[in-house]
């Protein structure tokens, strides 16, 4: 198991390097001259040239890429913002937790409501509860999250004045700032979670071991939760993995709407002001976060399914079996 985790962690290195190179190259093709945006329209030709020299923009791209890669991966320094001269690593340290907070809350809402909805729909297959859950799921998929965000702001901030529409807070009071953003980001994931749970449960629920469990007098609650749901978790976890990526990306738009100073607002702001180091650094960090989550998803598989765990654990044994065969 440990060996597997190590292998996955090592495999993340080329991926992250690849992301860094890819984003770096893409950003160099961006239209618009960064030095003009930094210095403003009143800058003279000499000032612009000096800035270009300072940022190293006149160097060939291979040299710049090499320099950037060595800064990032050897000195662990993402550089400074071209516009504000603030250290990017410390900005990310401040902002990433907010984005993660939003993403994880979104995930919890999706899973916490999506799975029960799916289970209810599966148990009551073809009854009105099933139809209701599936109609809700369809609506959840269809509603664009930024539109829902606007509607929620309209209802709960503008009309009822219950929850704040913008910004973040500190401490426990800060939680209420995440409620609307998390709800608006969660509908799509909630819906796909409900649908996936339903179909996975339906696959399992007619299996022989469920009949066995029922016939030996296991309470229906336990049959559903311990026998059926546990065995349908694999496809649900798979959906959760992809959902996390969606949420992480979706958080970028949600953050813009609710003015949450997280990674999304940081990167989108930097894209607009051609502050390349921020876009590059931010992308690297989000890619690392995403890769870690995919690793966690794979480890969750092993946790819920002993068969997969055995596969990870017995790399050596398996080879022996093969050799014997």
């Amino acid at each position: 198991m440990l060996k597997y985790v190590l292998k996955r962690l090592i495999w993340m290195i080329p991926i992250v390097l690849g992301v860094a190179i890819l984003v770096f190259i893409m950003m160099t093709f961006c239209p618009g001259k960064p030095e003009e945006i930094i210095l403003g329209p009143s800058a003279t030709e000499t000032e612009l040239a000096a800035k270009r020299l300072e940022l190293g923009l006149d160097d060939p791209i291979v040299l710049r890429l090499g320099r950037y890669m060595s800064d990032v991966f050897i000195h662990f320094d993402l550089g400074k913002s071209w516009l504000t001269n603030v250290d990017i690593t410390s900005s990310i340290k401040e902002r990433l937790p907010r984005t993660l907070m939003l993403t994880v809350t979104t995930l919890f809402i999706s899973v916490g409501i999506g799975i029960p909805l799916g289970v209810i729909a599966a148990i009551k297959q073809n009854k009105w509860q099933d139809s209701l859950c599936m109609v809700l799921a369809l609506i959840g998929v269809a509603i664009p999250n930024f539109w829902l965000a606007l509607l929620l702001v309209l209802q709960f901030s503008v009309k009822l004045n219950w929850l704040p529409a913008l910004g973040i807070g500190t401490g426990l009071a800060g939680i209420k700032f995440y409620i609307l953003p998390a709800i608006s980001g969660s509908t799509g994931g909630l819906a796909s979670c409900a649908r996936q749970t339903r179909s996975a449960m339906l696959d399992v629920i007619r299996a022989d071991y469920i009949t066995t469990a029922r016939s030996k007098g296991v309470p229906e609650r336990d049959v559903i939760l311990k026998h059926a749901l546990k065995n349908s978790l694999i496809p649900i976890i798979t959906v959760m993995g992809t959902m996390f990526g969606h949420f992480l990306g979706g958080a970028m738009i949600i953050e813009t709407i609710f003015a949450i100073p997280g990674m999304g607002t940081y990167i989108i702001g930097a894209v607009n002001s051609r502050d390349y180091p921020i876009v590059q650094g931010g992308s690297i960090f989000l890619a690392i976060t995403f890769s870690f989550c995919m690793l966690i998803v794979d480890l969750l598989y092993a946790m819920v399914d002993p068969r997969i765990k055995a596969q990870y654990a017995s790399g050596r044994k398996k080879r022996k079996v093969k050799a014997n065969a």
Binding site: G18, V19, L154, V158, S199, G249, S283, A287
Partner: protein, 289 residues
């Protein structure tokens, strides 16, 4: 025999699928909504009551009424006309982007899936890198490179949909490649191109069609999202996301500006999802439950 079933399905093709689907009320509803929207979008210039960019300052922020069905926006433009005209942009972005993405993605996926080995390895590792970047972030970076605008948004979104399609077709190919009819085709010295295009692809295509349908829905939402944050289609073009983005600042004084463009996106995505579900059930009864 796998070949027979595959062959029969293809021969029946379109009509068989439609027949199967016509029993599914939800799918037919989706198809109906979508066809209606596409027809309205095509006919939009002839049926919209006002020019979509006609400004009428007397009707600024007018509430929905008989003369302005969805009301008017901050410049007195008729929202109904704008939403209807916007369908041309939003729906066409979704369809064209997914079409381009599917063709390129399927080509890459087919090459990886059929040839395997080093080629497959190289392609898959590259896709791994692309997929390590969360989708929306990738879109944002690509749109930053290409700049905003209708065509650039299409290009950005099609690049974004390539990797998913390629992966999916590759997985299908790997499964299908093991079948005996492929061995048979190889043994009679069929060219690789022919094996891929006329033997493998037709047997792998059903899940691709379903995922493309769902992909159009997702792409429409993504395009609207990009426009919403100012990186996609730019105002005054009445793309739905761009309309929402402009409406956002007037949410307190004129909430009706926000309702209709969003509703248009939601209805379209809903229709596409209904259609996609129906197609999946019709194309692959195994997946149905």
């Amino acid at each position: 025999m796998p070949k027979m079933t595959g062959h029969a399905k293809n021969q029946g093709g379109f009509t068989a699928v439609m027949k199967q689907m016509s029993k599914n009320k939800a799918a037919m509803l989706g198809l109906l909504i979508l066809s209606a929207e596409i027809i309205l979008a095509i006919l939009a210039p002839y049926i919209i009551p006002y020019d979509y960019s006609f400004m009428d300052m007397a009707n600024m922020f007018a509430k929905p009424s008989a003369s302005h069905l969805f009301g008017c926006d901050d410049m007195g433009r008729d929202i109904f006309s704008r939403v209807l005209f916007g369908a041309r942009y939003s729906i066409s972005i979704g369809i064209i982007a997914v079409a381009i993405g599917s063709v390129i993605g399927c080509t890459i996926g087919a090459i990886a899936g059929y040839f395997g080995g080093q080629v497959d390895n190289l392609i898959m590792r590259f896709l791994d890198i692309i997929q390590a970047i969360p989708g929306m972030l990738l879109m944002i970076v690509i749109s930053a490179v290409l700049g905003p605008g209708y065509f650039n948004t299409i290009v950005a979104l099609s690049i974004g949909s390539i990797s998913g399609m390629a992966r999916m077709l590759r997985a299908q190919m790997l499964k299908e490649r093991e079948n005996e009819y492929i061995e048979a085709a190889q043994s009679i010295n069929c060219s690789k191109f022919r094996i891929i295009t006329s033997h493998l692809l037709p047997n792998c295509i059903s899940p691709m069609i379903v995922s493309a349908t769902m992909g159009v829905a997702q792409t429409i939402t993504m395009a609207a999202g990009l426009s919403f944050i100012g990186l996609g289609v730019q105002p005054p073009i009445p793309e739905w996301g761009a309309m929402l983005s402009a409406a956002r600042q007037f949410i307190r004084q004129a909430p009706h500006l926000v309702y209709f463009p969003g509703l248009a996106i939601a209805v379209t995505v809903l229709a596409l999802n209904l259609l996609g579900d129906g197609l999946r059930d019709a194309l692959d009864p195994k997946l149905k439950n």
